[in-house]
């Protein structure tokens, strides 16, 4: 099982006017093996940047990022990454999109077929193997992306607001599927979201980030909610409301820094 460790990580982007824009500064985070960690924070706090650093799609300006103790250098291709946008290739069918990872890794075609058919069925896309992404709904595309990621059986899954663009009902269905398909505690999951309820319902640990620039980890909360979990039922668990309120107090402070007006933010009510 996989651990992720960030030590004093900083990331500076060149700003639009040429002056440096420090997004992350002194960010330290330890992700234990087999845990489901949700990262929440106000927009612009560098949540996505943090994930990209772990994936090696971007390199830190300072500090170290390590997976299983090994420094991250270059794009990591043994992990899974679920993007907020569609990362399916528009010119490939569902099947060929799901098969990409296995084919890149040189698997035999019979094994590719078996494993892809299995995963396409598991995400509920049986019968849509020959459809192109443009012929699928947003939720179905997300399912295809989920299968594309999981068919390679990576130990570490990074998810960058994967369900943000979906409608409310579809989102709940996909959250359910996510817990069903990879909530068994064998995979290490880093899940970025701006939806606090989603974070509490899915994760074991909630990491709240400070408002940017120079963002970092503000606080960490273990949720202590039982597993296996049902996304809808967990919301009526007595701890759920308390947790949401506690974490929200922290988060609201950071969001206020951005908008400057506490009254402009709806108070947390359940």
């Amino acid at each position: 099982m996989t651990t992720v460790s960030l030590q004093q990580v900083s990331k500076v982007f060149p700003g639009t006017d040429g002056s440096p824009l420090p997004v992350l500064e002194g960010t330290t985070l330890e992700v234990p093996p087999g845990s489901f960690t949700a990262i929440v924070g106000p927009s612009g706090c560098g949540k996505s940047t943090l994930l990209r650093l772990v994936a090696g799609l971007s390199s830190p300006s300072g500090g170290t990022v390590a997976i299983n103790g090994a420094l991250v250098r270059g794009v990591q291709n043994t992990i899974g990454f679920l993007f907020q946008h569609d990362a399916l290739l528009p010119w490939k069918t569902t099947f060929d999109n799901v098969a990409l990872g296995l084919r890149f890794r040189g698997f035999r075609e019979e094994e590719v077929r078996d494993r892809c058919q299995d995963w396409i069925a598991r995400v509920g896309l049986k019968g849509f193997e020959r459809h192109y992404p443009a012929q699928l709904s947003g939720g179905m595309r997300k399912r295809a992306a989920l299968a594309q990621m999981l068919v390679c059986d990576p130990d570490l899954l990074l998810m960058d607001e994967p369900f943000a663009s979906l409608g409310a009902q579809t989102r709940v269905l996909l959250q359910q599927d996510l817990l069903l398909l990879c909530g068994g505690g064998t995979k290490t999951i880093l899940f970025v979201t701006h939806d606090l309820e989603e974070a509490v319902a899915l994760a074991d640990t909630i990491v709240v980030m400070r408002a940017g620039p120079r963002s970092g980890v503000k606080a960490t909360y273990p949720t202590g909610l039982p597993r296996p979990r049902d996304v809808l039922q967990v919301k009526s668990h007595p701890r759920f409301a308390t947790l949401c309120r506690t974490v929200w107090r922290d988060l609201a402070e950071e969001v206020t820094k951005i908008y400057g007006d506490r009254d402009a933010i709806p108070s947390w009510t359940i």
Binding site: A55, V75, N77, F81, F83, R105, F128, Y132, C152
Partner: protein, 267 residues
């Protein structure tokens, strides 16, 4: 798991049905031709300058049935296709090369932008002076019209490949070769097909205009000949042949495009 309804295109789009629309368009065309014919016969317009659909039809039939047309058609098609092929290869190669080398790209791009901005057809007299009144000058004119368009299709196609798609396949373990094969080439194919209609049109424009200025064969020569002999029917018939031929090619391209980029047809 719940299956959602896929967003397949349906016939539910409101508005007139396709068949009705096609019928109305045909009717409109027939009325226009009829008006033209009547006007010419009644002497409302001078048939010497305007001809009449029946005369144009007769001339067209003579051209097609006596084989008088084919050397001209062949010459124009040869010139246009040569210019198209050469322009395609050169434009794609340069676009590809410049997209790989940032410095070279920045250096040459302004030249291409300028070439793109000017009406390149003005180079016709120059090419005739350089390459003579044979096929060479027409191929060159076709080439220069096509080349710039293909260059920009490939150049922007490579530079503007969605970086998010690239990130996605890199995480899935793609090598540089995989990236080229599965992301870059299909993305460019979409751009190139998008520009193909323009380039085919340009290839014929180059050939016909070149012939029009100075040639001994070709559809453009036929046009020029008709003008010099004040033969309105021949001129109209030549125009019909040129337009008809290009429409035929467009139809063929559409079929090829649907075969090679099925994800677009599906959307």
């Amino acid at each position: 798991m719940v299956t959602e309804t896929p967003s397949l295109p349906g016939p539910s789009r409101s508005g007139p049905s396709a068949r009705l629309l096609a019928g109305l368009r045909l009717l409109l065309g027939a009325i226009a031709l009829g008006l033209w014919e009547v006007s010419a016969r009644q002497g409302w317009v001078d048939p010497f300058f305007f001809s009449a659909p029946s005369d144009v039809g007769r001339t067209l039939w003579t051209l097609v049935s006596t084989a008088g047309l084919y050397p001209h058609l062949l010459a124009t098609v040869q010139e246009a296709l040569s210019g198209l092929a050469l322009g395609f290869v050169a434009g794609a190669a340069l676009g590809w090369g410049l997209a790989q080398h940032r410095l070279l790209g920045e250096l040459i791009e302004p030249v291409m932008v300028l070439l793109n901005a000017i009406p390149r057809i003005i180079l016709a007299p120059l090419f005739i002076m350089w390459f003579g009144i044979g096929m060479g000058s027409k191929v060159a004119l076709s080439f220069v019209l096509v080349f710039v368009v293909v260059f920009f299709a490939v150049y922007t196609g490579i530079r503007e490949v969605d970086s998010r798609l690239v990130d996605g396949v890199l995480i899935l373990g793609a090598t540089r070769r995989d990236l080229l094969l599965h992301v870059h080439i299909p993305a460019i194919a979409a751009w190139v097909f998008g520009s193909l209609r323009v380039t085919v049109g340009f290839a014929f424009t180059g050939a016909v205009v070149g012939e029009f200025i100075a040639a001994s064969r070709g559809l453009g020569y036929l046009l020029n000949f008709a003008q010099n002999t004040f033969n309105a029917s021949l001129m109209m018939a030549s125009l019909v042949i040129i337009v008809g031929f290009i429409l035929l090619i467009f139809g063929g391209l559409k079929v090829v495009e649907e075969k090679l980029t099925p994800w677009k047809a599906a959307a």
